[in-house]
């Protein structure tokens, strides 16, 4: 009797592990125009995706409570410093319900790129993001080039290559 139960448990375990490897559906299909947004910026001005037409825009959805987000800020600062002159513009869209939490985060973890606030969460909903943080690379033509959820050490090199390729391509 005991072995039957164990084997049944094992079978469900194996089925579940197989599902582990399945890749998730991407929220936005490549090549479609990225949903527009206009959000309040950090120093009062507005941040509009339309105004960044012609630049390679790296939109990153983050929140103060999200651990991997804190890891990604130094990397995004580096990207903005190294590729800003070649047309990259990093835009960090904060999704904290209370923007004060975000400002405390920014005082501790400096952001050398554009910051916008979306406490209501309309933009991430439009972009259909699945995890925190999530980033979307938008080409100079306003179309979605690449999408990425989460941020790990190993992601740094891969993401930089995508940016370089996109910049290389963008004349």
């Amino acid at each position: 009797m005991m072995s039957a139960r164990i084997t049944r448990m094992l079978r469900t375990a194996i089925v579940l592990t197989a599902a582990l490897a399945a890749t998730g559906a991407s929220a936005l299909d490549k090549g479609i125009p990225a949903p527009q947004f206009e959000l309040p910026g950090k120093d009062g001005g507005a941040v509009q995706l339309a105004k960044l037409q012609g630049r390679l825009v790296y939109v990153d959805f983050w929140a103060s409570w999200c651990g991997p987000c804190r890891q990604s800020f130094p990397w995004m600062n580096d990207m903005q410093a190294r590729y800003g002159a070649r047309g990259l513009q990093v835009v960090g869209v904060n999704l904290d319900a209370k923007s004060d939490d975000a400002r405390r985060f920014l005082a501790e973890t400096p952001a050398r790129f554009t910051i916008a606030f979306d406490p209501a969460g309309a933009t991430p909903r439009a972009y259909g993001i699945k995890g925190m943080p999530s980033s979307v690379l938008i080409g100079p033509d306003g179309k979605v080039l690449y999408e990425h959820a989460g941020f790990k050490e190993a992601d740094r090199a891969a993401l930089e290559q995508v940016i370089q390729k996109a910049l290389g391509g963008a004349k």
């Binding site: 950090k42 001005g45 513009q89």
Partner: protein
């Protein structure tokens, strides 16, 4: 509880400097500031052409005679100077310091061509030989001078030291060239006024900055007026004469060393300055000889 901001004024590189940073208490602020000021003084000692024991003086003394070994830091600075020479089409030439012998901005006197000619012959970065860690100035009397970006480099170093030790809010101001550690303690950016070139205590514009660097080259720092014409210390290395197209060029950049060299090159480019500034991809604020402002700000935290 937001940390208080502490101020540490000091004199260096013949200009008024200040370190402003937020810290839990005066004691930590003092310790941090002293470490940064020590670094600025070290750079000043190492690269000042007025000090006989500096590497720059030793290189200049050996001009036309023998090569001088350089340490890694000097070697990097020379490599950066070489890069600026290339990027500016030869206008940014650290051997042009020798022209200073003809110009004494304390007396309104314009040197004649015969006085400038022998000096112009010594302005030739292209002829300087740099191999396996040593530098050789081929003609006797040649001189190099890091005045073009030495101060900005010191500002970057001081800021890096403060950030390394945990400072998050404040800036380093060396004679008007500013490098920002981070926003004000409450997260708001610093509001910085850009000097009006023609009014000593006037502000031409103000910029909200929370990181990166704000550097300015102007025709009002060391200059004199003669017959209604302004003669400033920014000299064209080909003619030995002061530039006159721009009153001042301010640049916002990730590093002071970059901003400082771009603003100086822009002054030297005279009519082509705007094209060069556009190509540099940096935000700038320039006032031409007629007093009109030309500015370009890229969205994002670099400029307001």
């Amino acid at each position: 509880m937001v940390d208080a901001v502490h101020r540490f004024p000091f004199e260096s590189m013949a200009s008024r400097c200040e370190i402003r940073l937020a810290a839990p208490n005066a004691g930590t602020a003092e310790a941090l500031a002293q470490a940064a000021i020590a670094e600025v003084r070290r750079i000043e000692r190492t690269y000042s052409r007025y000090r006989a024991d500096s590497i720059v003086s030793r290189i200049n003394a050996a001009a036309g005679c023998y090569r001088v070994e350089c340490d890694a830091e000097t070697w990097q600075l020379l490599a950066y100077a070489d890069h600026l020479y290339g990027a500016s089409g030869g206008l940014f030439d650290i051997t042009s310091g020798v022209l200073r012998r003809a110009w004494d901005f304390r007396k309104p006197r314009v040197p004649g061509p015969d006085e400038l000619a022998p000096l112009l012959a010594l302005v030739d970065w292209a002829a300087v030989r740099r191999e396996d860690g040593a530098i050789f100035l081929p003609h006797a009397g040649m001189e190099i001078d890091f005045g073009g970006f030495g101060k900005e480099y010191a500002a970057d170093r001081a800021c890096a030291i403060l950030q390394q030790r945990g400072a998050r809010h404040g800036y380093v101001n060396l004679g008007g060239d500013m490098r920002f550690i981070g926003p004000q303690p409450d997260g708001r950016p610093w509001s910085i006024g850009i000097q009006d070139p023609r009014k000593a205590d006037g502000i031409a514009a103000s910029i909200a900055v929370s990181q990166g660097a704000l550097t300015t080259s102007g025709d009002y720092e060391r200059c004199f007026d003669l017959d209604g014409k302004r003669y400033c210390h920014v000299l064209d290395p080909r003619t030995g004469m002061p530039v006159s197209h721009w009153r001042s060029v301010s640049v916002l950049a990730p590093l002071a060393a970059l901003g400082g060299s771009v603003s100086t090159i822009a002054m030297l480019k005279e009519a082509d300055a705007l094209a060069f500034l556009e190509a540099s991809g940096l935000a700038y604020f320039a006032i031409d000889s007629a007093g009109n402002a030309h500015h370009h700000s890229i969205s994002g935290d670099y400029a307001s």
